[in-house]
């Protein structure tokens, strides 16, 4: 009988708290979104499962010495996982569209306004009782507006590790929701005739230009923003491996096996931060709201900048492509293409939107560097 009682005392049934059950429900919801709805499945599936594992009573996954504890400390606290992902993203990125039309970098810059506007919003939220965000917390939340998962995780792990779970979940959720969040904003800020604008075909880009580009980006970062070199440096390394053409094996590994392995552990580690005691707080709600605001403002300023460039260029730029300035590669570019096709069935904007899209990745890395340099 004593044995049975001891067994009962150790069982999940006897030890569940309502918070843990709720967080397991959140984990299950993430799994549902990943499997049934196809929202960012590569990340939401491991994050959802990690959330379930982290909330098992007496499971010990997140206690010191547990698997998730190790994964988190080795990969996220040190900032290694997001940087390895960034190298893979660099190896996957073709800057051809951006090099062919470098003005698109301005759109990638404009869309970062969402980040900095949300910084003010997060601080202003302190006026509401129950919220107490420091400037570091606010910066880590604001970077959600950069719509770049690895950048958000990297910055949050440096500035506000206690908010990391909520920030990562918000960042990836909103990236998955790009096709729902962006089109209404894009349509609100543009006219039908603007959406129909066809853009000139892009010129071809030489191999030499593509090789020099990552080196130039790295050089500029070294000179002006050394705080951003971990992110930009790994990104440029991946891109140089791709474009140089002499290390195809390394490039293939970075954009396939390595990024896949790291993604599994990154997802699990982020999921491990979704334990009930850390996630079920009023701050989480604030982070989710601020993330959506950041995303919306970034989209809007990107479109407005593109409108300005359209006016200045005499109607040669379709303002829709400005929305792709918020990174979220390549989802945002696909959304631009889709909205463009709704107005004109023969207008394919995908390649034109890839320029601002990859510019957004650089822009958010630079913005993260600025925030790290000022607040880190």
């Amino acid at each position: 009988m004593e044995g049975l009682l001891a067994f009962w005392a150790e069982s999940g049934l006897a030890n569940f708290t309502s918070g843990q059950l709720l967080m397991m429900g959140v984990g299950a919801l993430l799994l549902f979104l990943a499997i049934a709805k196809g929202f960012e499945p590569l990340l939401l599936l491991p994050i959802g499962f990690g959330a379930i594992l982290a909330n098992i009573p007496n499971g010990g996954f997140t206690d010191e010495g547990g698997l998730l504890w190790y994964v988190y400390h080795v990969g996220i606290e040190t900032g290694v996982f997001p940087l390895l992902i960034f190298m893979g993203v660099g190896a996957l990125t073709d800057f051809g569209a951006l090099i062919a039309n470098p003005k698109m970098l301005l759109l990638g810059a404009a869309a970062q306004f969402g980040i900095f506007a949300t910084l003010i919003g997060a601080i202003a939220l302190n006026l509401v009782p129950g919220f107490e965000f420091s400037m570091q917390d606010a910066a880590a939340i604001a970077i959600i507006g950069g719509a770049d998962g690895p950048t958000a995780i990297f910055l949050a792990s440096k500035l506000a590790p206690e908010l990391l779970g909520a920030i990562a979940v918000a960042a990836y959720s909103y990236m998955a929701l790009v096709p729902i969040i962006q089109p209404p904003i894009m349509k609100l800020l543009t006219t039908e005739s603007e959406r129909q604008i066809k853009m000139e075909q892009l010129r071809e880009v030489g191999k030499r230009e593509k090789i020099i580009f990552p080196l130039m980006v790295l050089g500029l970062t070294i000179l002006f923003l050394p705080a951003a070199t971990p992110l930009v440096g790994m990104f440029c390394l991946g891109n140089l491996m791709r474009e140089s053409g002499v290390v195809d094996r390394l490039s293939n590994t970075a954009q396939n096996e390595l990024i896949n392995i790291v993604t599994i552990f990154l997802g699990l580690a982020v999921g491990s931060k979704l334990s009930a005691d850390k996630f079920l707080q009023v701050e989480t709600l604030g982070i989710l709201i601020l993330g959506a605001v950041a995303f919306g403002i970034g989209t809007a300023t990107g479109v407005l900048m593109a409108k300005l460039m359209c006016k200045l260029s005499g109607g040669k730029i379709n303002p829709l492509i400005g929305a792709a300035g918020v990174s979220a590669v390549p989802m945002a570019a696909r959304v631009v293409n889709k909205v463009g096709l709704q107005s004109n069935q023969h207008n394919f904007l995908l390649m034109h939107a890839m320029g601002p899209n990859v510019a957004g990745v650089l822009g958010s890395a630079v913005a993260a560097g600025v925030l790290l340099a000022v607040l880190g």
Binding site: L105, L106, G108, Q112, E209, F224, V374
Partner: protein, 85 residues
């Protein structure tokens, strides 16, 4: 309460600084990319060469030098003889 407004004004400062830096950084990059394009754009030369290539091929076919034609014929002849042997 005043400290929050102080923080908001700090955040405003970071916003101006941050957006300024992002724009300056990416604008310098635009200039850099344009310079590299001027210096190292192989595309301009590549286009005429691809356009010219198809014109040259039939010319070669029609007006092949007699010596070259003889050499190729002899080589084929020799190869066939060797294959039969």
């Amino acid at each position: 309460m005043t400290s929050i407004f102080q923080q908001i004004s700090d955040a405003l400062g970071i916003m101006v600084l941050g957006m300024g830096l992002v724009f300056v950084f990416l604008s310098i990059l635009i200039v850099g990319v344009k310079l590299v394009a001027k210096w190292g754009a192989p595309v301009v030369c590549a286009k005429p060469s691809t356009a010219a290539a198809p014109q040259q091929v039939p010319n070669h076919g029609n007006n092949m030098e007699p010596q070259l034609l003889a050499a190729i014929t002899a080589a084929i002849h020799q190869y066939r003889n060797r294959a039969q042997a």
